[in-house]
């Protein structure tokens, strides 16, 4: 997960206990090495995805079928019935990765041009993990209204839209408005992908520690895109709103906080959650909120020490700690466990229990595209989270394994099928099939890109990494 970002005003919090020196140091040098290599490879490959024909071209004569004059008949067919675009073109499997570049990774508002490499990377992930054709589309707009308008205008080319790296709270308005107006699924990964992955991990962590959601007291640190969506989904799943405490850099978010009028005007999503939870009956600081809590879900500042071990110690017995800031978690897992945490999750792949939205978005899009769903309501997001949790659970969960790793991708088609089935159940699917049929379709479509990439590499059409020795196994 790369989406937990520092809040706008970043306060430096003194460290509770200094992070293990070698961890911080090796982390820094590792990040520097990765950055340098990424830059070198970007220079070499100049882009990460390209358009590849999916039809035979035996000679130029075939273009009279793929293009004019033959293609006019296809256009006429779609003119008669626009829904046929999903059968006669690639629309069924093509999405836009749309951004205004207003909040890219932890880099902030770097604009659409600088966002392009990130959108290309996301498009590659969509294809490789989900079998989804994704078009990187950073656009130059200065208001949420203009972004909405742009999305509405490009929609005829796409079967879905993935919104990416849009600043909060504009991202809520853009998502809500597009979900209302467009007949295709619209998703904002920074909200929904992160929230769904968090939810999936939490479901299993609760099961491991013998808790039910209805009797759980939860603190959410950070009130940005991801945590506001997580809070909404938790309540929807049955969490008592009055046992839910959101904390931001002004402390506990409650109904009588001084800045609430401003929030009503500028961020009605946060305002609504403030009224609905009213601080979960708490007031004051993070430390006060955490006392006696069962769960903390932190998606805030990437500074270890933001969550202190003594606060973890003040939680209920066997607490659950998700420290999801990237690249540095709010508390080091070892510190959290030493303070009594029963289950610890982070956003990083080098610790156990990575809460990673790459576990979610490929499956959700595979599912909604296969069912040709009209939208992605919260029920579908929850279905994806529950299925991901269930798949992990049937394989056996432990404190160190509440979510699949990226090496356990055989669960992906199951999640996609659950999504598609959920769309059918909700009556928003335009393709009806059984869960087994959806599963088979997803499995086939999700397996193809890896085979394709491998074939391209094997044939030499995709260059091997220029900075690695050529593998000896294929001597010419």
């Amino acid at each position: 997960m790369v989406e937990a970002r520092p809040p706008r005003s970043r306060k430096s919090v003194p460290l509770a206990s200094p992070p293990p020196e070698e961890t911080a140091e090796s982390e820094a040098s590792q990040t520097a090495a990765l950055s340098e290599r990424a830059l070198r490879l970007a220079r070499y490959y100049r882009g990460k995805v390209e358009t590849v024909p999916k039809v035979p071209v035996r000679s130029l004569r075939d273009f009279s079928l793929w293009y004019t004059p033959g293609i006019a008949a296809v256009s006429e067919e779609i003119k008669r019935d626009p829904a046929r675009a999903f059968d006669l073109t690639g629309r069924w499997n093509t999405i836009a990765v749309l951004t205004d570049g207003s909040r890219v990774l932890g880099l902030g508002n770097i604009g659409p041009q600088a966002a392009l490499p990130v959108m290309e990377g996301k498009a590659l992930l969509f294809k490789y993990l989900g079998g989804v054709d994704a078009v990187p589309l950073p656009v130059d707009v200065s208001t949420p209204e203009a972004l909405i308008e742009t999305a509405l205008r490009i929609a005829p080319a796409f079967g879905g839209i993935n919104l990416e790296d849009i600043a909060s709270p504009n991202c809520f308005q853009v998502l809500e408005e597009l979900q209302r107006q467009l007949p295709i699924p619209v998703w904002h990964d920074d909200q929904l992908g992160t929230a769904a992955a968090t939810l999936a991990g939490l479901i299993n962590a609760l099961q491991l520690t013998g808790r039910t959601l209805a009797s759980t007291r939860t603190v959410l640190l950070g009130a940005g895109a991801a945590n506001l969506a997580t809070a909404r989904l938790l309540i929807r799943l049955g969490h008592d709103p009055h046992q839910l405490t959101l904390v931001d850099h002004n402390g506990v978010l409650h109904a009588e906080r001084e800045d609430l009028d401003e929030l009503q005007l500028r961020n009605r999503w946060k305002y609504r959650i403030a009224l609905e939870t009213d601080g979960g009956g708490r007031r004051g600081t993070l430390a006060e909120a955490m006392a006696g809590a069962d769960v903390i879900l932190a998606a805030s500042t990437p500074v270890p020490g933001t969550v202190r071990p003594e606060w973890v110690r003040s939680m209920a017995p066997h607490p659950i700690v998700f420290a999801l800031a990237n690249p540095l978690p709010e508390i080091w897992p070892a510190d959290a466990r030493a303070a009594g945490a029963a289950v610890v999750a982070t956003g990083r792949g080098d610790f156990p229990n990575q809460v990673n939205n790459s576990l979610i978005f490929p499956c959700v899009f595979r599912g909604v595209l296969d069912a040709r769903a009209r939208s992605i309501p919260d029920e579908i997001v929850i279905a994806a989270a529950e299925e991901l949790a269930r798949c992990t659970s049937t394989r056996g969960i432990t404190e160190q394994h509440i979510l699949p790793t990226m090496d356990e991708r055989e669960v992906f088609p199951h999640v996609a099928a659950a999504v598609a089935e959920s769309a059918v159940r909700l009556g928003i699917a335009r393709v009806r099939a059984t869960r087994e049929e959806f599963y088979e379709r997803a499995r086939t479509l999700m397996a193809r890109p890896a085979a394709l990439t491998e074939a391209l590499q094997r044939s030499g059409l995709v260059d091997p990494m220029p900075d690695e020795p050529v593998p000896p196994k294929n001597p010419r």
Binding site: P241, A255, E256, E258, D261, Y271, A274, L275, E276, D278
Partner: protein, 178 residues
């Protein structure tokens, strides 16, 4: 922000925290500690709408002296709103109004609603309407033949709210910083 409902007790399918009917009564001096922060919140909200409504640094002291004077002034009206149920006796809102003379127009006595503020949790469910109608009844008792209300021109929520109560713009108040 505020819904129209005569009873002030309409139940909407929101969370239970939002089902918060209120009760209005004349404010007293003992309410001042609770009323002052509410007035200050309102003034800060007004500043959000327009930098020309920038709040003075001594706003708390000003709110106190204005409210103190108004509590003694027969031409002024200060109403305190209380919660009900567990929030009974908790002041959760305020309304300031005054009787003004109209030297050139009829009706001659005008009731002016100057400020109204309810804590966010107690909005909607007709609470705002209940407060305004309560104030109008008292202003009428004191001879007002017309009622007016002042709020920042940018506050469209207030504009819509008063429109539903039958108010329409009558004069415009324009400003320029010197």
């Amino acid at each position: 922000m505020k819904r129209t409902n005569p009873s002030g007790t309409e139940s909407r399918p929101d969370s239970r925290a939002q089902r918060a009917p209120i009760h209005a009564r004349p404010a007293q001096e003992s309410d001042l500690p609770a009323l002052i922060p509410l007035i200050v919140r309102l003034k800060r909200l007004n500043e959000e709408f327009d930098p020309m409504l920038k709040v003075r640094p001594d706003v708390e002291a000003q709110a106190e002296s204005v409210l103190r004077a108004e509590l003694k002034n027969p031409k002024s009206l200060v109403i305190a709103a209380e919660g009900t149920g567990p929030d009974k006796d908790k002041v959760i809102g305020v309304l300031r109004a005054a009787i003004r003379e109209r030297p050139f127009y009829m009706p001659e006595a005008e009731g002016v609603i100057l400020d109204i503020y309810l804590l966010p949790l107690y909005r909607r469910h007709g609470a705002g309407q209940y407060m305004v109608e309560h104030a109008i009844a008292l202003l009428k008792e004191r001879g007002a033949g017309i009622v007016t209300v002042e709020f920042p021109a940018q506050n469209e929520i207030a504009g819509r709210f008063y429109a539903t109560l039958g108010f329409r713009p009558i004069t415009s108040h324009h400003a320029r910083i010197l």
